[in-house]
Subunit: 250 residues, 2 copies
DNA sequence: GTCTTTCAGGTGTGATCGCACCATGCGCAA
DNA sequence: TTGCGCATGGTGCGATCACACCTGAAAGAC
């Protein structure tokens, strides 16, 4: 998911207003949207962020088919915000609408996968390299915590928590330096391979990824940009390699 | 005002029963790229592409404010497809909605500009390098034509044609190899700096960009990947430098 | 004349309705 | 029992209406 649009609205992350959320399901009775809480983001935005989260954490399986009305009911909004949110994700190649019939995750071809991998290897090590000087002790602490959550999720068998922790780990690094454009590009990539990343979890070799994270942490402590870039590079290459092993479509 | 279903089903005049129709387009089983018949793209798609074109060719000025209803009237569609298209562009950071009041091009800060430039320099030379082996004589011919159109537009004083030709030139190179993901990322970047690129036109130094294009063409003829990457790199750096010279917001 | 107030118009957002399309399945006929 | 045809339900897309909000300028008060 998107990391707090720093330069825009100072509005708090809105990550956890479940209380108000439950109280204000505008799901009105015929009459207007009411929308009395001006601080709240738009419904479209909320749905958009929720779907992004689900994609990045692999909660939307590649084969599954979605529908705007179905999602609307599930998220307790009208189909309208869902339609808009889905449209945005379609523009980002994160979803696809097939012949105006159903919504699903785009197929993964070998060529597309290589393309995706190439882009990641181009952007992410560089993003990490650039961000390194901006990683402060507080940041490092968060990184270690994310890494611990990741280890725990491997032991505990919580796939979704694993995905979330992995996402947190990477974007805590990249996001240390406020380079929104590059961050956004990388997020777009994660949106696309996220659903497929799920198969990595629990696979032989997943443990290796932990080593890469350890190497990254060590590189950060030593302020060694090259070592950090290499650790990220290897983490990506190995992780994506685990996906690539499973037979792709074509 | 507009009269309804224009773009929809022109007519089934050919009287082709659905059964025989299935003969031509092999309805791919299950999921696949498929690329539904381009004949009847949705209105949203049409508006989306039109707005993208306008952004990339600098036809939407940084300062200008847009409105859904205004665009709808201008493009002769209802506000609905415009709203969706704008939403997609907002997701790509190509447009912005200010406090639910008006739509405009996002402000360009120095940091954002540097970020954008950095991403371009990371992706585009590499995209060109990768595409080089796939550039065939027919492609090269198109490239030369685009370059000639670009020169002509400088003489003729047609800013929009200049922008379009420049876009064509770059994406003819990158697109020689079908790497859709990387292409999409680069397009996202162009969408963001496009409106600001306009100020480059006619500026002192614009002629230098022509030299870079000539160098690129020569590199392609000689199949020199490094030289091509360097030409693209320099072209970007100089072109963006021309933008950077003009006082940015902060 | 200047300042305050109000109101009208316009905006993005959300809800609801209608349409063309397609897949599935029930019912009728062979 | 087996096969075909039509009806029904569900889909995405587009249009239209309703609402909260904000801005601009005109109208009023001093």
């Amino acid at each position: 998911m998107r990391k707090t649009v720093v330069a825009r609205v100072p509005e708090p992350s809105a990550a956890v207003p479940p209380g108000t959320e439950a109280g204000a399901p505008v799901r009105a009775s015929g009459i207007g949207p009411v929308q009395d809480d001006p601080a709240s983001e738009s419904l479209t935005e909320r749905v958009y962020r929720e779907l992004r989260l689900r994609l990045v954490t692999g909660r939307i399986a590649p084969g599954a088919t979605l529908s705007s009305r179905g999602l609307a009911q599930e998220l307790d909004v009208s189909p309208m915000p869902v339609r808009e949110a889905v449209g945005r994700l379609v523009a980002e190649s994160a979803l696809e609408v097939h012949s105006k019939r159903y919504i699903c995750v785009p197929a993964m071809t070998r060529a597309r996968f290589q393309d995706l991998l190439h882009c990641r290897l181009l952007l992410e090590p560089e993003a990490a390299r650039l961000a390194l000087p901006f990683i402060e002790p507080a940041h490092l602490r968060l990184l270690v915590e994310a890494d611990e959550r990741l280890s725990a999720s491997l032991v505990g068998g919580d796939a979704q928590k694993y995905m979330q922790s992995n996402f947190d780990f990477h974007f805590l690094i990249y996001g240390a330096r406020a380079q929104l454009t590059m961050l956004h590009l990388i997020e777009t990539l994660w949106l696309q391979f996220g659903p497929w990343m799920r198969v990595v979890y629990g696979r032989v070799g997943t443990a290796h990824l932990l080593d890469r994270h350890k190497q990254a942490l060590q590189a950060i402590r030593e302020a060694d940009a090259e070592a950090l870039a290499k650790a990220i590079h290897d983490d990506i290459a190995e992780g994506m390699g685990l996906i690539g092993l499973t037979g792709l479509d074509p």
